[in-house]
Symmetry: D2
Subunit: 377 residues, 4 copies
C-alpha cells in the first residue's frame, strides 16, 4: 500500500466534496494507493483550521507556492475559483506534482491549452473533476451507448436548471458567491453548469462541431462583497444553445439559475435509432431507458433503479434497492484515479479532454455575443 499524499487548495464546497471523497474511496474501493490528506492550503489559515481538523489534514499551508515546494506532496488538488486554476496548475506541473483540477479547466481555451502543455510536458497524471460522469446511472448510460444498443444517434439534449439567484439581493464576489463575479468565474452558467453538460455530452456522444447560442443576464447589477457597492453583473445568468455533433446528431443545451422550483436539475437525454436514454440529477440513481426491440405490446420506458451489484460502482456499496448520494460521484472519481495510478493508464477526463469542453464553452460565449453560428475551434 502506497500513500498518495494530497495537497488540497481551497476548502469551499468543492474542498468538502473532495476531502470526503478521499476518505470514502479508501473505505469502499480497493487500490494499491491510499489517499492521504497531507495538507490543506488556504490564504487564511486561521479560518481554515476547523475544516482541516475535521477532515484530519496532517498540515496547513497558507501559500500554494509553498505547498508546491514540499517533498511530502504527491498530488495537488485545485479547488479555487476558476481564475486561479491556470497559474497553480502550471506551477504544480512544473513542480512535478500530479494535478487534479476542479472544472471548468480554465477561464478560456487559451489558458486551457497552456495548462495542457504544462501537464503533458511534465508528464504528470492530471484529471479534471467532471464528477457527473461517475454517477452510476450516467456511467451505465455510457456502457449502454457504447454497447451499440441505441444505434445511430439523432438527438442529444441536456439542461441544468437552478433557481438560487432569482433574488436580486444575492451579492457577487467573495467566498460564497464568487460564481456571480465574472472576474473570478470567467462566465456564469456556461462555465459553471453547461460545462458539466458539455463534458457528459462529448463523452457520451462525441465531439461538437458548431454551436449557436444566446445568453441573458436578468439581474444587471448586484452588490459586490469586495467593493461594497453595486457593480454591473458580468456573467451570463442563462444560456441556451443549438449545436451539431460530429456524428450528425442535433444537440440542444440550456442552463439557467432562474428556473423556479429546480435546485440542481441536470437532465440529459439521448435518442437513438433503436433506443433512448434519459437521466436527471434530482433522481440520480434512476436511468430511464426505452428499447424499441422490446415486444411491442409491453414496450415502455424502463425506470432502471441503478443499485444492483452488476451496475457500475454499485458492487462496492450496499445491497440492491439501496441508493447512494451525490457525493460518491467524487468518491468514484478518486477510486478511478487511484486505479489509474495502479495501472498506469490515464483517468478521464484529463486536462486534454477538458480542453475540448472549454473550446465548446468559448464558442458558445462567442456565438451569443456575436449572434452567429460558431465552429468549435
Amino acid at each position: 500500500m502506497k500513500e498518495l499524499r494530497i495537497g488540497v487548495i481551497g476548502y469551499g464546497f468543492m474542498g468538502k466534496t473532495h476531502s470526503n471523497a478521499y476518505v470514502q474511496a479508501a473505505n469502499f474501493f480497493n487500490s494499491r494507493h491510499k489517499p492521504v490528506l497531507q495538507a490543506l492550503c488556504a490564504r487564511n489559515v486561521e479560518k481554515a483550521k476547523p475544516f482541516a481538523d475535521n477532515w484530519g489534514y496532517r498540515s496547513l499551508e497558507h501559500d500554494w507556492r509553498e505547498l508546491l515546494k514540499r517533498d511530502d506532496i504527491d498530488a495537488v488538488d485545485i479547488c479555487t475559483p476558476n481564475h486561479l486554476h491556470k497559474e497553480i496548475a502550471i506551477a504544480a506541473a512544473q513542480a512535478g506534482k500530479m494535478v487534479l483540477c476542479e472544472k471548468p479547466l480554465a477561464m478560456n481555451a487559451v489558458e486551457g491549452e497552456e495548462m495542457c502543455h504544462a501537464v503533458e510536458f511534465a508528464g504528470v497524471p492530471n484529471m479534471v473533476w467532471y464528477n457527473y460522469r461517475r454517477i452510476p446511472a450516467v456511467t451505465l448510460a455510457k456502457q449502454i451507448i457504447d454497447s451499440g444498443k441505441l444505434g445511430r444517434i439523432y438527438h442529444y439534449r441536456a439542461n441544468f436548471l437552478q433557481d438560487w439567484t432569482i433574488n436580486a439581493d444575492v451579492p457577487q464576489g467573495g467566498a460564497a458567491t464568487w460564481r456571480l463575479d465574472v472576474n473570478a468565474a470567467g462566465s456564469g452558467v456556461t462555465g459553471d453548469l453547461l460545462a458539466h453538460c458539455i463534458d457528459s455530452a462529448i463523452w457520451l456522444n462525441g465531439s461538437i462541431n458548431e454551436v449557436c447560442a444566446m445568453t441573458e443576464t436578468f439581474v444587471k447589477e448586484r452588490l459586490h462583497t469586495e467593493t461594497g457597492k453595486k457593480e454591473p453583473v458580468g456573467i451570463d445568468d442563462a444560456c441556451a444553445f443549438l449545436c451539431r455533433f460530429a456524428n450528425g446528431s442535433l444537440g440542444l443545451f440550456e442552463s439557467t439559475r432562474y428556473a423556479r422550483g429546480h435546485k440542481a436539475l441536470y437532465t440529459l437525454e439521448v435518442n437513438g435509432e433503436h433506443a433512448s436514454l434519459r437521466w436527471d440529477l434530482h433522481d440520480l440513481h434512476r436511468l430511464q431507458y426505452f428499447d424499441h426491440n422490446d415486444e411491442s405490446i409491453v414496450r415502455g420506458w424502463r425506470s432502471i433503479h441503478v443499485t444492483d451489484g452488476d451496475q457500475p460502482y454499485m458492487g462496492n456499496w450496499w445491497v440492491p434497492g439501496l441508493q447512494i448520494g451525490y457525493e460518491h460521484s467524487f468518491t468514484h472519481q478518486v477510486a478511478d484515479f487511484l486505479t489509474s495510478l495502479d495501472t498506469g493508464q490515464p483517468v478521464h477526463p484529463t486536462f486534454r479532454d477538458a480542453l475540448e469542453t472549454q473550446r465548446v464553452c468559448d464558442a458558445v460565449l462567442a456565438s451569443a455575443s456575436q449572434r452567429l453560428w460558431k465552429t468549435v475551434a
Copy 2:
C-alpha cells in the same frame, strides 16, 4: 344492421356513463347491432326530461314495470341504487329482456343467486357493469398474465381510495348520496369500491378462498335527506381484508373514503415469479410492468403508455401517444356486448360471474362483523 333497443332505468352518474357509451360504441366500434336509446325510465319524468332530450332518448317511461311490458325494448339497463336491482332484473328476465345491471349485482349473494337463476332460466343475455376490466391497460394486464409471462403468482394487492366523505356534513340518502345510506346501498365501500377490486382480482388471478376483514365507520351519524334528521350511518366507511386465492397467492385489499388526497385511486398490483404488473386509475393509460427476464443491467419497471394500435381497444381510437378517458371503459363494454350478440358468445362478467364477487363481499362483511376468517361460500 339490427337495432338493439335499450331501456335505461335511472339517469344519475351511471345513467350518464351508459348513455354516452351506447352513442360512442356505435361511432367507434363495428357490430351488426346498433344500440338505440329507446326509452329512459325515471320515477319523475319531468325531472328526467332534459337528460332524455340531451341524449336523444326516443321516449320516457315513469314506471319500470311499464317499460318491461313494451315490445319495442330489447334490453333493460339497470342504473338504480342497489336495493332495486333484484326485483327489476328478475322481472326483466321474466319479460324476456336482455339485462344489463350496474354493479354490485345485488344487496347480497342470496339476492344475486335468485337473479342468476332468473336470467339463466329465461336464457337472456346478461351482463354486469364492472367496467374497469375494459380500461385498455387493465385488459392488457389480463393478456400479459394469460400469456404466462408472470409465472406462478405470489401476491395480489389492490386498493380503492377516495376522500369525499371526510366532511361530516355530507348527508346520506337521496339521489346524490344514496351510497351512504345502508338501505339503498347495502354496504359502503365494500359494495361500491372493493367490489370493483374483487371483480378485477378474480378475473386476473382466479377465485378467492377465504378472507379476513375489518371495517370502520368514522362518522357515526349523518343527516338523512329523506327524514331530515341525523340518523346512524349503517355503511362501512373503510374496509380492508386479507385473503388467500385458490392459486396459493396472498391477497391484500383496502378501500376507504377517508384517504385525503385521493379522489378515485384504484390501484392493483400482481407479483409473479418472473414478472410483475401495476396499474392505477389516476393514470389509467399507463401499465407498469417489470420483467425479470430483461437483461440485468437494463432491467427496470416499464411504464407502458397503452395507446398503441396493437394494444386492447386502442386501434379503434386515435394515434399512438394519445390517450382516451375513463368513460370508454363503458364504451368498450357496450362494444363487447354488441359483439356477443353478433357471435352468440356471452360477454363477461355475466350475472354468474358477478355473483362470485358478491359472495366475496358477503364473506368480507361477515368476517369484519365476526372478527374471524371466513371461507367464501
Copy 3:
C-alpha cells in the same frame, strides 16, 4: 335551439376528431346552438361513405365548391392537407360561411394574411384548431399565469417529440403520409408540431420577437406514393430554435419525429419569478406546479390531477379523479365556438391569432435556412 349546419371537408384523422367533437359537445355542453353534421365533402364519395354513415352525416358532397354553394351549410370545417387551406377558406368566407380551419393556418404567412383579410372582410366567425389550448390542464395553466401567480416570466420551453418516421420505409405523399410531402404540408415538424407549441406559447407567454433555428432532414429520400418513385424529402424532420419573447423571457423549442420512445410527447414549461408550471401530453390531465410561496419545508412540485369540477371544463364531465381523453380538446373547442355564437364574442385562436404563429414558423424556417437570427415579421 338553433342548428349549426356544418360541412366538413376531409375525413382523415382530423375529420374523425372533429366529427366526434361535434357530437360530444352537444351531449356534454350547453349552448343555444346545436352542431349538425350536414355534409361531408370528399373527392371520392364512394370511399367516404362509410365514414359519413358512421357519424350520421346528412349528405355527401364531392366538390368543396359545390358545398360552398349550398344554402343549408352554415359553417365550413377544413380538414384537408395544408396546401388546400387557403383557397377553400377564402372561397368559404366569400360565400359567407363561418370557417373553421385545421392548423397550421396556411403554407406560409403570405397565404395566411390573405385568409385573414378574407374572413375579416366577410365578417364571418373563424377559428383555427389549435386544440391543445383546451386540454383542461393547459387551460388551467393559462388561468394560473393570468392570475399573476408566476410573476415575471424568465423561461419558456417546449418540445414535441415523436418517433414514427425513423423507419426509412415510411413513404411520403398520399392520404396517410401527406405530412412528409413538402408540397402538401409546406414544412415538416415546424408546421405540424412546433406550430402547436408556438400557439400555446404565444397564448400563455405573449409574442415572440426573434428566433434562431436549425433544421435537419435525416432521411433524404422516400418513396412517393403518387410517383411510385424515391423522391427527395423536402420537409424538416427535426427543428429546434432559440427565441426571445416580447416580455423579456427566453424561449427554447424543439420538435422531431426521431425521438425514439416518444409518440406524441408535447411538453411545455414556464418558469416565473414566484412559480413554475410544467405539462406534457402523455399525461395530459396532470399539471405540475411549483409555488415558491409555499412554506419552505413542505415546498415541492405539485402534481395537480386536473379532474375536479372547479377546474376548466371538468364540471361537465364525470367526478373528481376520473380523467377524460385527448379527443375532448376538440370537444371543448366546439363548445367554446358554440358559446361564441351565443354571445357574439369571437373564439380564439382566430385566423388572425393563428397568423402570428404562422409568422413565427416562417421566421424559424428562414432562420434555419440562412443560419441567422430572424426577427418575427
Copy 4:
C-alpha cells in the same frame, strides 16, 4: 472532545453500515464526543482482519466476553444475528457498557423485556438501530405530523417488498443467509422488514392495539449451509396484517421477499383529515405531501425533494437539490446518539421503544398462527 470508544460485534452488512456511520458522523456533525473504532469483535479474527484494517479499527477481539472486560471500550454495538442479541446485550449492560443493538431487539418480547431490564437497571445509554426514522424525508414526515397539519389520522399503511428469495436455490443459514434460518433470525420478514415498518408507524402514529395477520412460506425447504442438507424453512416468507391504532386509525401492513421487481421498497402512507403523506425507500429523498388547505384549483400531491438546508439533517450535507444516500440514516443515528451523550437526553428508539415493536411482532406471529385477532400485550 471526548472519545467514544466503540466495540463492534459482527462485520456483515450491518457491521459495514455502522462502521461507515461512525466515520461519517464525525466528519459531518458536531458533537463533544468523537466515535472511535476501538475494537472489532469476530469469532474468526483472521477473516475479519481485512475489514478491520479497511475501517481502521484499533484492535481485533475474537470473543465478545473478552471485549466486555476491556476498560477501553465505552460502547458495544451488536451487529450479530438476532439470536445472539439478548445474551450479549445483557452482559454488556452488566459490564456497564453503553449498548447499541441492531434491530429487531430480540427473538421475542420475553427476551426483549429482559434486555430492557438489564440496560435500565444498569442505567446505560441504549439504542436500537431502526435507522429509517432518520432518513431526512421520514424525519420531516414526523415533523409535519407533529405540527398538526394532518389533523385526525384515519389510515396508516406500509409495506416492505423484496424479491431476493424467489429463487428456491438460495440457501438458509450461514453468514450470508442467516435471515432465512429461523433459529438465527427468529422469524422471516416479520422481524426483518415489518419490524422497520412497525417502528416507524408507532413513532409517527402511536401505539397499535390489536392485529390480525397471515403469513406464508412459499419455499418449504432450502439447503442449510451448516447441515449441507435440505431442511424445512421455519421463517415466514411473507406476512400481512390488519391493525387498529390507539388513536382510532386503521393500519395495513405487508412484507414479502416474493414481490418481483422490488428490491427494498419500503413504502409508508398516512392519511389525515387535512393532509396526507407518502414516502418510499426507492426514492428516499422524496416526500409526497397533499394538503387539502391548498387553494382548490392548484391542489395536488407535492413531491418534496428533501435536500434543503432547513429540512432535517440536510444543512450538514451539500447544497439544495443534491441528495444523500441510504447509509446516512445510520450516520444520523450516530450523530443523534453523540448529541444524546452531550445533553444527557436519551436517543430514540431505546430498548424500551423497540420492545413495543417486538410486542407487535409477537402478536402478529401469534395471530397468523392462530388465525385470530390478537391484542398487543
